[in-house]
């Protein structure tokens, strides 16, 4: 056994857009153990539920994370609607799917860009973000916001989208799909990308399941599980299958996310085509009383809201378990045995979202 050294990784590291900290126990260039610690962006927002009206908490939940913002507000709204037994109009359900999938496309493109940057492939990073801007244009056209949509509310959505804009959305996504194909072609087919990441960051199928991995990390290890199959919003009425890869390594995670971009574009098309006419919100009166555990699929994986309400305007408990939090134990499992130089891309491969995780 060689000499062991501890190398601190983060909180400030060029590859990390956000502060996270790992203590890496090294033996020469190999990692023996990785110990995570959190809290650089901990705000303590679960406690805000005691101060803010449950309707206002939609805005707080949307700001847990600026990347999966809409999906957070949708999860929270659906949880409260389940407790209050509110029937959300169908059109709102389809609009929610449309916006949720748009945020998945922009999130995955963002991640592909960051991954390219971590590999030192800067032009690919710039191209991914260039295409992502087109997705943001559609989001802005339909919701008014770029990264924080502000369209979800308890009882439906805040604004309708007219037929002409929906047509335009479909056309813009035809264009975006072609551009995404070019980018994904580089990720999937470029020999230098392949050489750099093949076999890196292995997480076996059994480990992934036992350690509670979620989202693309779980599906890249060959487990078919996607929270959208629970059928919330309009997902139960659309035709799609979860994307699963069996590579168990970093390229498998890249592939899952790449294929999910096209899956999401497909879901957006279906949602727009099947969208019925009608109102987009119902009036919700009274206060919630009851409990629910709501699960939705974020770009990063399964997101859990545990809401307990006691009949007052303030919730008894507003608890958020974010996908990155669940993916930390799998990450700790992936790192031992790896080279130090591979740490950045392995950490990125779980698509860490720290502001989500630390709330």
């Amino acid at each position: 056994m060689g000499t062991r050294t501890v190398i601190p990784f983060g909180p400030q590291h060029p590859v990390l857009p956000e502060p996270v900290h790992l203590d890496l126990v090294m033996e020469d260039e190999k990692i023996v153990e990785a110990i995570p610690s959190l809290g650089y962006v901990h705000r303590g927002l679960e406690k805000l539920a005691a101060k803010k009206d449950f309707n206002d908490m939609v805005f707080v939940s949307e700001r847990i994370c600026g990347i999966c913002s809409f999906i957070h507000s949708m999860a929270y709204s659906t949880a409260i609607e389940n407790i209050m037994k509110v029937e959300v109009p169908e059109r709102a359900q389809y609009l929610r799917v449309m916006w949720a999938e748009m945020s998945r496309v922009h999130s995955h493109l963002l991640w592909l860009g960051l991954a390219a940057d971590a590999l030192g492939y800067e032009s690919l990073f710039m191209h991914s973000w260039r295409v992502r801007e087109k997705v943001l244009d559609v989001i802005e056209e339909t919701s008014g916001g770029r990264v924080i949509f502000g369209t979800c509310k308890i009882g439906g959505v805040r604004r309708d989208v007219d037929a002409a804009t929906l047509d335009k959305t479909l056309k813009m996504f035809d264009d975006i799909e072609v551009e995404c194909q070019e980018i994904v072609h580089v990720f999937a087919g470029d020999p230098s990308v392949h050489k750099r990441v093949a076999g890196v960051g292995i997480l076996s199928k059994d480990d992934a399941y036992a350690l509670g991995a979620v989202g693309p990390v779980l599906r890249a290890s060959g487990v078919t599980w996607d929270a959208r199959k629970l059928g919330y919003a309009a997902y139960g009425k659309l035709e799609w299958e979860p994307v699963v890869e069996t590579g168990c390594d970093v390229p498998a995670r890249v592939l899952v996310r790449a294929k999910e971009i096209f899956q999401s574009i497909g879901l957006i098309r279906q949602a727009i085509k099947k969208m019925p006419k009608g109102p987009v919100e119902v009036r919700v009166t009274g206060n919630p009383n009851g409990e629910t555990i709501m699960r939705v699929e974020q770009p990063r994986g399964e997101l859990v809201y545990h809401i307990q309400a006691n009949g007052t305007k303030n919730l008894a408990r507003f608890r958020v378990r974010t996908p990155t939090f669940a993916n930390i134990p799998p990450l700790v499992k992936m790192l031992p045995g790896c080279e130090l130089a591979d740490v950045p891309i392995i950490v990125l491969s779980i698509d860490p979202c720290i502001s989500c995780t630390e709330r």
């Binding site: 060029p14 962006v41 303590g44 700001r63 994370c65 990347i67 963002l110 990264v147």
Partner: protein, 152 residues
């Protein structure tokens, strides 16, 4: 236009933001907005930076980090608070781990509100910061005081 504002170097730090403003800062650097065409360069090193862009509120954990980053920057320097959280604490103002806006810890020159702040607004804020930077280089702008606010 003086020497200082021809090619300002920028340091970005994520206070306790939700990521929304951070990805907009990154978006400014990518092809659509591409601030590099104005000579603006993003650096990771505070010792090379002229302008400090901060997103998110100051919390218990990072107030020392923010103070350190600011102290390491050479004079003249300008601080831009990006987004509602950085200007006032925003929606998270009442959280137990949040202290408030950036100006509770270091002096801020330009306040750019927005949730999330738009890339156009970020660029405008940086341009305003350049004005302050020029004045400060010429010794004409107020020097910083802990709560000093400078109208740009």
């Amino acid at each position: 236009m003086g020497i200082m504002s021809k090619s300002p170097w920028i340091l970005h730090y994520d206070g306790s933001s939700c990521n929304g403003c951070d990805i907009e800062v990154l978006a400014c650097l990518t092809p659509l907005y591409d601030v590099e065409r104005f000579g603006i360069v993003n650096t990771g090193n505070p010792k090379h930076a002229d302008i400090l862009l901060i997103t998110g509120a100051v919390n218990e954990q990072n107030k020392e980090v923010v103070t350190n980053l600011y102290a390491q920057m050479p004079d003249p320097k300008v601080v831009v608070a990006l987004g509602t959280c950085a200007t006032s604490g925003g929606i998270f103002r009442e959280c137990y781990n949040v202290q408030g806006g950036i100006d509770t810890t270091i002096p801020v020159d330009v306040y750019v509100p927005g949730c999330a702040v738009r890339p156009e607004a970020i660029i405008e804020g940086v341009v305003k910061a350049l004005g302050v930077l020029e004045l400060r280089a010429a010794g004409k702008a107020q020097t910083h005081t802990p709560t000093g606010k400078v109208k740009a």
